[in-house]
């Protein structure tokens, strides 16, 4: 197990490093000079040159990359000139919106999907099962941002139950803050729940076809007992993998959903910074998002290997 972890960890670090190079390189080809853009068309050459050196744009590429990387190692994410603040503190401000949003959405989708998956698998072939599966097919096809617009129309504009957008901040109290995250979380969660319930159902059905399930049934256990005590545990392994992958979807989904609801989260920060050509913010936030995806997949892999010793040999 130790060998497996070290091997995977090395791959994770390598992946992270290559990802950082790709992101850095991609942002170098942006047409337009950030300094020129910030100062406007009336700026003198001197003031542009001065801002360029202040932004650190006059140092050679490699040096700039190394500065950025070595800063990140010690938690210094650089300085944003369009926001006039350290990127680190910008991220800290926004992560308290995006992370709870993604976590609420993930919890919602799990809480809905796993019972639906178990229920339909145990009533396979019945009208309930067919109807539920038809609903999930439609659920997968729904774009989450369209669903979000619809939710805003019904619950914020028609019934005025929740705010249509914006975020009051956590210091206004838990309920007002949670209330403004509720619709975005539901919009993110439902399409994911549709996928997850289908995965749970088919994983359970696969497990129920195994020999040891037949043995358990043959020795006189009820179908329900076998489902809950024997099949469920094994079926949850693929479900866990999908959950890990969904976290990446949820992170990416927040970019669009945060724009629908005007939520000051990481997605909106990236989006606005790209438009303002604030490279420091974009590259740091994107690296952070990519790193969290890689890290979560690593943890899922570990959980997988822990649950199934056969996987440790392969790597």
């Amino acid at each position: 197990m130790a060998y497996y972890i070290v091997r995977r960890l090395l791959i994770v670090l390598l992946t992270l490093w290559v990802a950082s190079v790709i992101i850095f390189a991609m942002l170098q080809v942006i047409p337009g000079d950030p300094a020129q853009l910030m100062l406007g068309i009336n700026a003198t050459d001197d003031s542009i040159a001065a801002l360029r050196s202040q932004l650190g744009l006059d140092v050679p590429l490699l040096q700039r990359y190394l500065n950025w990387m070595s800063g990140m190692m010690v938690g210094d994410f650089g300085y944003s000139y369009t926001y006039g603040a350290a990127v680190g503190s910008l991220i800290a401000e926004r992560v308290v919106v995006s992370l709870p949003l993604a976590l609420i959405a993930l919890t919602l989708s799990t809480v809905i999907a796993i019972p639906v998956g178990i229920f339909t698998a145990s009533r396979r072939g019945t009208a309930t099962d067919t109807t539920a599966m038809a609903i999930t097919q439609v659920g997968i096809a729904i774009p989450n941002f369209w669903f979000a617009i619809l939710l805003v129309y019904i619950f914020a504009i028609s019934f005025r139950l929740v705010p249509a957008g914006g975020f009051p901040g956590w210091d206004t109290g838990l309920w007002p803050a949670l209330k403004s995250l509720l619709l975005p979380a539901i919009a993110l969660a439902l399409p994911q729940a549709a996928i997850l319930s289908r995965v749970t159902r088919s994983a359970l059905l696969d497990t129920m076809a195994e020999d040891y399930i037949r043995t358990a049934r043959a020795k006189g256990l009820t179908a329900q007992h076998v489902l809950w005590h024997h099949a469920l545990r094994n079926a949850l392994i693929p479900v866990l993998t999908i959950l890990g992958l969904q976290f990446a979807f949820l992170l990416a989904g927040t970019i669009i959903i945060e724009n629908v609801f005007y939520l000051p989260g990481l997605g909106r920060l990236v989006f606005q910074s790209i438009q303002r050509l604030d490279l420091m913010v974009v590259q740091s936030v994107v690296v952070l998002l990519v790193a969290s995806v890689i890290l979560i997949n690593f943890l899922v892999d570990l959980a997988y290997a822990w649950a199934d010793p056969r996987l440790r040999r392969e790597g």
Binding site: I11, L14, T15, V18, A19, I22, M26, L27, V29, I30, P31, G125, Q137, V138, I140, A141, I142, P143, F145, W146, I149, L150, V152, Y153, I157, S202, L205, A248, F249, L251, A252, G253, I255, I256, N259, V260, V270, F271, I274, Q275, V282, V286, L289, V290, V293, I294, N297
Partner: protein
């Protein structure tokens, strides 16, 4: 053929996909109204007998816009899938034929691309190179490359281990010829199924990008673009937002069902009652 008529997923899928495709094709020769003409007097009309699906804030007929939008949304998804297949499949076949270092390199690079949330990178790419339908195609297409490379590699590897490949090699055929004559024909089915799935993901991605203003640009029409314009009109003209969304759902649903149906029909080994 008999099986196809019995497969419900396939039937519903081909009907919905065919319907949307027909609408898109008809839009080239005929739409109820001209979508480039603005009739301000008739703006924000709810669905009625003249304007079957109502009008938008410029007085454009939404039914006609859905038809023209179908064309653009499908084109973006189609070319994005095309990029994925044209680059991904040869890469996957190459890795499967060569194994070793090439294979390892390809798999690790696709791991890296998969670590980027696709939408986030698509937003970055379109923002960097400028928002346009072409850049949306490239951005979505890049993420289709590793998907097709992996699927092609996996399928090709299983064919390479067959005995008739050994026979082909013994008769002196090279890797390129074996790939062309034996591998490709045998992995086409799997690629078709994957292509359908990627197509539906492409429709969703185009809609998302155009919705945030990074895909199709006005005056061109796409479903995502229509949703973008509908959002501020939501309280007075909800039909403007509902209709393009339904069009997206019908298309994606149709493609997904078609994909499921094709998988059952083309690969009998996978056929199981689920």
């Amino acid at each position: 053929m008999k099986n196809a008529l019995r497969n419900k997923n396939f039937l519903v899928g081909i009907f919905l996909t065919g319907f949307i495709l027909a609408i898109a094709l008809i839009s080239f020769v005929w739409t109820p109204f001209d979508t480039t003409k603005l009739i301000i007097a008739d703006r924000l009309k709810a669905p009625n007998l003249t304007y079957l699906l109502g009008t938008d804030h410029f007085g454009r007929d939404i039914f006609s816009m859905v038809m023209v939008g179908a064309r653009n949304s499908i084109a973006v998804a189609f070319f994005a899938v095309g990029i994925g297949i044209l680059i991904g499949v040869p890469l996957g076949c190459w890795a499967a034929a060569k194994r070793g270092f090439v294979d390892e390199l390809l798999m690790r690079s696709s791991d890296i691309i998969f670590a980027f949330p696709a939408l986030l990178s698509a937003v970055m790419i379109t923002a960097i190179f400028g928002p346009s339908a072409t850049n949306a195609i490239i951005a979505i297409g890049i993420f289709n490359i590793p998907v097709f490379a992996r699927v092609a590699r996996g399928a090709a590897l299983s064919i390479w281990s067959r005995e008739y490949i050994l026979a082909a090699r013994a008769s002196g055929k090279g890797a390129v010829r074996i790939t062309r004559e034996h591998i490709l024909p045998n992995i086409t089915n799997i690629l078709v199924v994957q292509g359908t799935i990627q197509f539906s993901l492409g429709i969703l991605a185009e809609a998302g990008l155009s919705y945030v203003g990074l895909g199709t640009q006005p005056p061109d029409v796409s479903w995502g673009r229509m949703l973008n314009e509908a959002q501020t009109m939501m309280s007075i003209a909800p039909h403007m937002a509902i209709i393009p969304g339904v069009a997206i759902i019908v298309t994606v649903l149709g493609l997904n069902l078609l994909g499921d149906g094709l998988r059952d029909l083309l690969d009998p080994r996978l056929q199981r009652e689920r």
